[in-house]
Subunit: 332 residues, 2 copies
């Protein structure tokens, strides 16, 4: 099944071409997974092997503004800089826009502003595609539900499906072949004391994309076999921890989930290793501080940087040990 | 089943007390596993979940000399230094000797000389227990077969079962509850060009013993489920590689096996991590050199140091990149 089939099915009973507003505008937050998305059952539709669970960063993300232009090709501007038409990022965006063009031949100026520190390893494609579909929805007045936008965002980038909501979000793996049941939804929890800090450890570009790393893991890592079981356990535990506000349980489960994801990569061939010496040094420091009684945990995505998890009452102490920590607001 | 039951069964048809020579002397090499031993099906008898495959280091190991003493307790001297009776090492040795005392009440002076650089993370218990059982066999003139000595050495320390032979050695997991089929045997391969170099990266004492780490992995790591399958594949491939002298296949399989073992540990809780920043830095260097065409691989045991695998024709180049490398003779 192709992406275009999914788009067609989704718009089957809707008027896709109804209106054209002058411009479309939308912001989407980036998100950090507490229970990771790692491995696809369908690489074309970005259908995951497992569900996943994240928290959105309300102040960090992408603002996308769309306007029609009278040109032969789309234009993409990122943080006020026009991008080359043959760059990988622009090609991916244009291919995504193609899904919605049908026989019409509109071209867009896509103006994206991201306030994500590029070096911090925050998923830019997640907030990028989520804000793009929301801006398209605004531009064409599709009036799609957030759930439908989540499905469309997933077609651009898997984790983008989670960036349609603030707060805690669960992306349901779904079972259907067309992925119509694979979308994200908000979870009814809030936790004002919960804090995330980004620990920037390296600005080196990663040696392998998460897309490729994920695929190599699924194809070559024998240890991947039990990853779905791990996720199944962890999503249940994390929801319990959110329900009763048990921070140690939340932090420990999130850290274990991240380490297990990286473990499946290490067992791939050729090995996939997002650990840098600085990553290990920071982990050892977190473990040492925890041994001394500090309720501090980390999570790590497909990059060398760590995200620290803690409650607001120890933020001062955490910042003392990690002066470079960039603290993030999660709740108002 | 207890260790003493196994010893009794093993000596059932033999004259355990036949002779007492004046002293017993034996050397045993240490060994480095190319396919690792990780996880026990019986913690009392050190029966492994899987077979494993190693190479012995003929010049590195333990020389044990035993003499009777007229004292109330055994004495242990390591590298000319008498050890305290209440040290963990002495207690473990004395408990092991107890297995062979029966109603007799002999006491021994156990003089062990090890030429293993202590900081290099080479298994001292492997060569220690292998040389001890061989020296006991010499002292009491038991005339046990090497296979029987391998079973006895295993009761002291699992990997000691492999240190009864030089060259390539396979320790068969066995199926029996009493472990009488769980012993090591030499493999009929030789490879004079094969080299191992020890890369000493840290002299810090490890934070968790391999015995404890192994148990925690088996008990808490969901990823451990597929480790036996990995070992099954790797032992077959390594034997094929030894047969046809395919070095890239040998090195790649050994490296993947070691990384997969460490991956099972990372997925434990609390996490078990023998990587230090220096370990990751050295791994990254090996991977970068391999990308440039150098046929260089590593293996890592339950400690932070790496052992590099390569063929003799690139030894000079390898030493250029890793000046601290301690090269080890494997074959004459």
């Amino acid at each position: 099944m192709k992406k275009s089939d999914v788009v067609q099915a989704l718009f089957a009973n809707k008027n896709q071409k109804a209106t054209r507003r002058e411009s479309g505008l939308a912001f989407a937050p980036t998100n950090i997974a507490l229970c990771k998305y790692w491995g696809k059952r369908d690489t074309e539709l970005n259908l995951p092997n497992t569900s996943s669970l994240s928290i959105s960063l309300p102040d960090k993300g992408a603002l996308t503004k769309l306007t029609f232009i009278d040109e032969t090709q789309d234009k993409v501007v990122l943080n006020d800089k026009p991008l080359a038409a043959d760059s990988a990022f622009v090609k991916r965006l244009v291919q995504f826009l193609d899904l919605f063009r049908n026989e019409e031949n509109w071209k867009l100026n896509v103006n994206i502003t991201m306030n994500i520190p590029v070096a911090a390893g925050l998923a830019s494609s997640a907030c990028g595609f989520a804000s793009l579909v929301s801006a398209l929805n605004d531009l064409f007045a599709w009036q799609l539900s957030t759930k439908e936008l989540s499905i469309l965002a997933r077609l651009g980038s898997g984790s983008a499906s989670r960036s349609l909501w603030m707060g805690f979000v669960e992306w349901h793996a779904g079972l259907q072949r067309d992925g119509m049941d694979s979308f994200a939804e908000p979870l009814p929890f809030t936790w004002p004391e919960l804090k995330i800090g980004i620990l920037p450890l390296s600005t080196k570009e990663k040696s392998i994309s998460s897309r490729e790393a994920m695929q190599r893991t699924v194809n070559t890592s024998l240890l991947y076999a039990n990853w779905p079981k791990k996720v199944l356990q962890d999503t249940v535990i994390i929801k319990q921890a959110l329900q009763v506000k048990n921070f140690s349980l939340l932090g420990g489960t999130a850290e274990s989930n991240a380490l297990t994801m990286h473990a499946t990569m290490l067992a791939s061939w050729p090995p996939v290793c997002y650990f840098l010496p600085e990553t290990i040094a920071a982990m050892q420091q977190v473990w040492a501080l925890r041994q001394e009684g500090l309720d501090l945990f980390f999570t790590q995505d497909a990059g060398p940087n760590l995200k620290l998890l803690y409650l607001s009452d120890i933020e001062k102490e955490v910042k003392k040990y990690f002066p470079s920590l960039e603290t993030i607001k999660l709740f108002d």
